[in-house]
């Protein structure tokens, strides 16, 4: 019965991702200010390229493209967080693609010394057509 660690349900996980999604440009517009430590950029004005991404995410994106060569994969949002706080956000006021058109790539790195504990998290949202 219950000795197995449950397998992930990918569709449900994407559903959870959509449900907890926060659009930061809209949020900060409402609040009237962008937090000081955040670099915010529009993906429409300045599209996300390989140079913006950590190597591992770019490699994963290339794998996804190679697996489905007839489909288009357009990065639409990118965020880097340090210790859970956004420091770089590339996003517009549009929401997320629908589940069938959504690809999410993530990477987390940690560093721990006596003086510092740091978690760096990168998230890339890709529209798949």
């Amino acid at each position: 019965m219950s000795n197995e660690i449950p397998s992930p349900d990918p569709r449900k996980m994407l559903g959870d991702f959509r449900q907890s999604y926060t659009n930061f440009p809209r949020l900060w517009k409402t609040e009237g200010r962008i937090p000081e430590e955040v670099k915010l950029r529009s993906a429409k004005d300045s599209p996300i390229t390989e140079a913006d991404l950590p190597q591992e995410l770019w490699t994963l994106l290339k794998e996804a493209r190679a697996a489905s060569p007839k489909r288009s994969f357009i990065p639409v949002k990118f965020m880097n967080l340090i210790n859970g706080r956004p420091v770089q956000v590339v996003e517009d006021e549009e929401g997320l693609p629908a589940e069938e058109h959504l690809l999410v790539l993530g990477r987390t790195l940690t560093m721990n010394t006596c003086d510092e504990a740091r978690i760096s998290t990168d998230i890339l949202v890709v529209r798949v057509d």
Binding site: P8, M13, F17, Y21, T108, I119, T121
Partner: protein
């Protein structure tokens, strides 16, 4: 509830008496080794083994948003406890008077508890103004041997007894004392795999097996050999014995983060922690995961402390239930079976 004082061997002691229908028998509730009156009055207090090992595991728990991924195990524990109905409550519900008390020497030899039971019976005969035998001796575990020794050696007060009902009493002894070292090794091995939670679940077992009381009940011990010699059913007394064949006490539950807890969300902070419960492989459930050293600790043969085959009397009616040694203190089906013996029909609640 009336608390009645009495003196035994110079010590002040008490009886807990609940008054019921005077037309019904009086049930004297006798606990086993290492027990006390709570075993029969409030088993959630003692022995406190009322694990709910049959209900589905708890649903996933939402912990909340964190700045770091949730990975790995968050907690290891045993099944939650469930509410249970004691023998005293079950009998009171149906109008029986009950008597319960803390026996002397619960971990020692039976010599003093037998004399104490004789003292208690003399008091109760006067208290309830009996004119005919109307005492039921309902005994759990070693309490059954206490009853047999008392009936054999104290015929005067024993003549007031109408029924003897023993629950999981090792009338032919228990082999646990003989395999104590092997049992300890098996539990230590399990603890090395599953951690200190095993001691929480089974530490009491080793404490029990190490007592003089348990050694006195070893198979073919001098006490048991002497008890059997010349033992005969007391005229007018009906004997009923019950045995158990389940060694399952509790599951070991591991709570760990769901895989989704390690996936970052487009949210500040980005990780939503959620935990899920699974049974620990290999070590759970306890005590199924112990090796079958003796019938006492083998599922289908024993109840962890006694083997069903050793819980019978040649002059008694025997019934087997798939319950463990502690569950004999509250199992509803068992209680219904005993109530039926005493002339009361109670349909067991299959949902409990």
């Amino acid at each position: 509830m009336e608390v009645m004082q009495y003196t035994f061997d110079g010590e002040a002691r008490t009886l807990q008496i609940s008054e019921g229908d005077p037309n019904r028998p009086v049930v004297v509730l006798l606990h086993g080794t290492s027990g006390n009156r709570h075993d029969m009055m409030d088993p959630a207090t003692n022995p406190d083994h009322n694990f709910d090992h049959q209900s589905p595991l708890s649903p996933d728990k939402d912990i909340g948003w964190r700045s770091y991924p949730g990975i790995g195990i968050t907690d290891v524990g045993l099944d939650a406890k469930k509410p249970v109905r004691s023998w005293q409550d079950a009998l009171e519900e149906h109008g029986f008077s009950t008597v319960a008390y803390d026996q002397v020497d619960p971990e020692g030899l039976l010599e003093r508890p037998v004399r104490e039971l004789d003292t208690v019976m003399m008091i109760l005969i006067g208290r309830f103004r009996m004119i005919e035998p109307r005492f039921v001796l309902l005994a759990h575990s070693r309490g059954g041997l206490l009853v047999r020794s008392y009936l054999k050696t104290r015929p005067r007060t024993a003549s007031w007894v109408s029924h003897v009902i023993t629950l999981h009493s090792p009338h032919d002894g228990s082999r646990l004392a003989n395999v104590a070292n092997s049992l300890r090794d098996a539990i230590d091995t399990l603890e090395s795999v599953a951690g200190s939670v095993v001691d929480d679940a089974l530490g009491w077992l080793m404490n029990l097996v190490d007592t003089d009381a348990y050694r006195e009940l070893a198979v073919n011990s001098p006490f048991l050999v002497d008890l059997r010699q010349g033992e005969a059913p007391v005229p007018g007394v009906s004997y009923f014995t019950f045995g158990g064949t389940s060694v399952r006490y509790t599951r070991i539950i591991v709570w760990h983060y769901t895989l989704g807890s390690a996936f970052p969300q487009w949210h500040w902070p980005p990780f939503f922690h959620r935990t899920t419960a699974v049974e620990m492989p290999i070590a759970s459930p306890i005590a199924d995961s112990l090796p079958n050293l003796t019938p006492e600790v083998s599922e289908g043969s024993g109840d962890l402390l006694t083997a069903d085959s050793n819980c019978r009397l040649p002059f008694g009616v025997h019934t087997v239930n798939q319950v463990n040694h502690a569950e004999a203190l509250w199992d509803r089906s068992l209680q219904s079976q005993v109530l039926r013996i005493l002339g009361v029909m109670e349909e067991p609640n299959i949902w409990q």
